[in-house]
Amino acid sequence: MDLTIPDHEQSFREEVRDFLARAMTPEIREAGRLTTSVFAPVKQAMDWQRILHEQGWAAPHWPREYGGTGWSVGQRTVFAEELVRAGAPPLIPMGLQMCGPCLIGYGTEEQKAHYLPRILSGEDIWCQGYSEPGAGSDLASLKTFAESDGDHYVINGTKIWTTYAHHANRMFLLVRTRRDGKPQAGITFLLLDMATPGITVEPIVGLDEVPEQCQVFFDNVRVPKANRVGEENDGWTVAKYLLTFERGGQDYAPGLGVQLEQLKARARRQATATGSLADDPLWRRQVADCETRVLALSFTEQRIKSALSAGKDPGALSSMTKILGTELQQRVTELAVDTLGAQALLWQPGALVPGGGEAPLGPEYALTTMASYLNARACSIYGGSNEVQRGIIAKAVLGL
């Protein structure tokens, strides 16, 4: 056992850091600062993706032949950490992190050749059609039906919690293609063009007043069967792969660490009668409580990656990092609200739009703090609620 960082990773870190310092425009930096969700403002996120793509770094985790970087697990971690530290807006994951890997794993050669370059370049913006009003945590009970009609499917039904459907030009989705048998068995994985007739997108305004999610309605929407990924009725296999990825594919600890450092800097500027909030023992205890948990999570993520590098399947452990990461994220945003006191109540959604031009009536971070807190309430719900994840651990790990 050792914590040694190979020399080449250290120099790689320098390289990434230099690049980011150079490549991030003021607009990109502003978007990073104003991002209060896992989903960054779409325009700046896509701009940033194009810049990374020029460098060949848009999809480090993809195989090299499809435009990946060929980096080691360690290098990918370094890259992700440096992005977080530099305050870059996160890239929109539906294409790069979800649809792309799915196509690489299960797509036909034609699908790969057509879609992967457009995902990489940002020409296509994807959304994910999984949840339905009656099928949230219980995804397998989805009802949106795709009737076979020659070389097409005809889709009727509705999807909900479809992030950025109002920005996307493509959707990957799960549909039911058979009504009998086990619920998981009759599901098929499809790709579609959002411009297809019969699709209606209705944005859903969130607690933070941002329409991040949508409901999407399908009224006799015709999709060519060539757009099917995997076999008919076998979409659950692809779906499960994606779910695992959605949960465990990211590291939470680096971002949490950065947020806690920022929080400490802010507390140093919150004056008390005798010094600053950063000196207050009770406040320090709250931060230390978070920091010790982040330290534990960080090493857990390292352990999982170490197992991955050794070719082991971490399996249900992605459920653990999803629970721990999201609940810590919620706690850290809550502590940030506490740190600002009443100043966190200032509500200026207009000032949170990058380039919106509305001047904040207080420090910029006072604006993002509340919006982040509100938005973070969702992270224990999406991607399979944390209740579902605990159930997975109980069953898959503990055998209950």
Binding site: L207, W283, Q348
Partner: protein
């Protein structure tokens, strides 16, 4: 000991509840996307119903009510998620006027009670942790009066107040309990600028900037350097009022969550059948009952002037910040995605609670004050 409302108090509760149900519930307010800062018609009704007169002495034209009557009113307003500047104008502004001597009462309470006077208290300062004694904004004595310079953050109702009560230092340094004074200020005075803004809960406030604002000696409210005692007593009443509003709001969050759990189906059954969720809702119920107990304890102790009354107020605010917040978070979580939407009421109650928790010190500060009291 007796925990029953008097007949009059029960009538007040019933009338507020009826009024809320007849078109002033949060659902209606929520759909009003114009988000007008103050609904004049609504405030007129507050006056007509006598609510603005509630906490004032009969000699001052009031109804002679006390903390218990305010509790009754605020709990129902909280249940209805009614957006109105009752706390800034009546509880804080009115509470300070009540304690400022007969001249101030005579001059302003009639207008306040009739609904013609909106007030705001300017307390919080940028980059200073909340605590009245932590005030830095200076009021320098000068010929015939004072000169005020500085900024105040999040002045509740500051965007629509006819007058502001500004806490300033006439002596001492931040941390000192002496040297704090209150000033009466109108927004039209030279050097006063107010930048209005919304707060997260759909209420409104303002950023106040004072640049060389010259005030006459008569603008001083109460004793020079002696603002802390009346301010603290007034803040106690505000914390009780907000506590009652919070308990009302939390009771709706619990009811809505239980109701949702009975109807929302996943995996073939109502989610309320899942034992893990049942236990969490039982915890929510217990948290609400404990907060209600603390609300009663603090309200009655303040009303009766018990020696440990302030301690109970600290306990209430601290536990609201811990257990009330957790209850509200659980309400969102158990609503799943729907809880995250602007459409359902749950998120709006959640935001009001978040705002209440952020006002006048958080849980740790109140736990520390409880330990010191």
């Amino acid at each position: 000991m007796n925990f029953s409302l008097t007949e009059e108090q029960q009538m007040l509760a019933d009338s507020v509840r009826r009024w809320v149900r007849d078109g002033h519930d949060g659902e209606a307010r929520r759909r009003d996307k114009t988000r007008r800062p103050l609904d004049a018609a609504l405030w007129r009704q507050f006056a007509e119903l006598g609510w603005l007169a509630l906490p004032f002495a009969e000699d001052d034209g009031g109804l002679g009510g006390g903390p218990v009557e305010t509790l009754v009113l605020m709990e129902e307003l909280g249940r209805g998620l009614v957006v109105a500047p009752y706390v800034p104008t009546v509880v804080l502004g009115g509470g300070l006027l009540r304690r400022a001597g007969p001249a101030w009462r005579e001059r302003h309470l009639p207008a306040l009670i009739e609904g013609r006077l909106q007030l705001a208290l300017a307390l919080d300062e940028y980059e200073r942790v909340f605590a009245p004694e932590n005030t830095a904004l200076t009021a320098t004595a000068e010929q015939g009066g004072y000169r005020l310079d500085g900024r105040k953050a999040l002045v509740l109702n500051g965007d629509q107040a006819d007058a502001l009560l500004v806490l300033a230092r006439t002596g001492g340094v931040p941390g000192d309990e002496h040297g704090l004074s209150l000033f009466w200020l109108t927004p039209d005075q030279d050097g006063v600028s107010l930048a209005p803004h919304r707060t997260v809960d759909g209420h409104t406030a303002a950023k106040l900037t004072l640049e060389r604002v010259h005030l006459p000696a008569e603008a001083l409210v109460g004793e020079p350097g002696g603002a802390l005692a009346p301010l603290r007593a007034t803040l106690d009443e505000a914390l009780l009022a907000l506590g009652a509003e919070a308990v009302g709001a939390l009771s709706v969050l619990l009811d809505d969550t239980v109701e949702y759990a009975k109807t929302r189906r996943q995996f073939g059954v109502p989610i309320g059948d899942f034992q893990a969720l049942q236990h969490r809702m039982a915890d929510m119920f217990m948290a609400l009952e404990q907060l209600r107990s603390l609300l009663l304890a603090a309200t009655l102790k303040v009303a009766e002037g018990h020696a440990d009354a302030r301690r109970a107020v600290h306990a209430l605010k601290a536990r609201l910040g811990l257990d009330g917040r957790h209850l509200a978070q659980e309400a969102i979580q158990l609503h799943g995605g729907m809880g995250m939407t602007d459409e359902l009421a749950v998120g709006h109650y959640f935001k009001r609670l978040t705002a209440i928790n952020g006002l006048f010190g958080g849980a740790d500060a109140h736990l520390a004050a409880f330990a010191d009291a």
